[in-house]
Symmetry: C2
Subunit: 208 residues, 2 copies
Amino acid sequence: MDPMEFSQVVRTRRMIRNYDPARPVPEEMLARVLGNAVRAPSAGFSQGWDFVVLRTEGERAAFWEASTTPGREPDNWLLGIQRAPCLIVCCSSPDAYLDRYAQPDKGWTDRDAARWPVPYWDVDTGMAALLMLLTAVDEELGGLFFGVPVEALDTVRAALAIPTDRNLVGVVSLGYPAPDRKSPSLRRGRRQVGQVAHAGRFGTPLAL
Amino acid sequence: MDPMEFSQVVRTRRMIRNYDPARPVPEEMLARVLGNAVRAPSAGFSQGWDFVVLRTEGERAAFWEASTTPGREPDNWLLGIQRAPCLIVCCSSPDAYLDRYAQPDKGWTDRDAARWPVPYWDVDTGMAALLMLLTAVDEELGGLFFGVPVEALDTVRAALAIPTDRNLVGVVSLGYPAPDRKSPSLRRGRRQVGQVAHAGRFGTPLAL
């Protein structure tokens, strides 16, 4: 397998919603996916993330049972992603950041979450998840990032022994891709640079 | 300039805290940075992000004046990043997500933010910022991601005409790198895969 150029990885990445259930993710690929994830940036180098990796049929079944409505017929979306041989549950720790910024070189000893303009614990863990998705492309695997429904957060935490002080930022599914339908959301079209970039102040389109 | 391999970009990325103020970011590089940012994934393809690009001395001065404490002597950190010729203020729109998920194919017509386990508007915009930082490495530029202090959010919004319904997720500074000191936070050491990855359930270290 040839190493891929960075720009090609970015251009070809898309969410993969169906997997070949017969082909597990090779260990060395999983090691590279996780090895890149821990290179994500983090505020104060807090690195307040944990990743619960589910690879056996029993581990994955415990997650799906805890995260889906009992008795409800799975739709095509769910049937596809349930074929993924590997799931990585991405957790964030607000306390890791509050503790880090209470240290002498930062000095926010009040540990007040209101000091944070946005929750960097979730943002940084999301960046780690993106590095997993990009690395999957580089490894010629498929990946998807999806959220855990609010109503399933407690049962998923319980099923995987995740402490209650962790946020569940989302799950990366990994595997060899199988044919899938692209997301119907893509019909919305991509917002182009000229629509989202502003020159000097909000509302003045940037022309490049 | 040769295209860089993906894995090399990830391995060499680090935050750059000093810039050559005499060398602006070439337009075609800025176009590639922003062109990759809009390839970030987003929940429901909501793409609720906006990027305010500050390139003139006046635009940058307006940001720094609005975001720093008047009369306070800038420290070395601030002096370094104030030399960056380009700043990209990354904004997120919660409403873009609430609106998207109220559409018929999602059907959360109540627009209730409590349905969201974490604020994906901030997480997705953070992913876009990471793609900027990675692209900077690919372009042999330096980049840094930093937050706007809570107490400066209103003045920065006012200075850049950013609507009050936008969150300020952070700022990417870009430019040609100048010698800098690595962050003292790095002394904390990187949390290795064996410390952050769990096998099957939280608390069982993953051995790869």
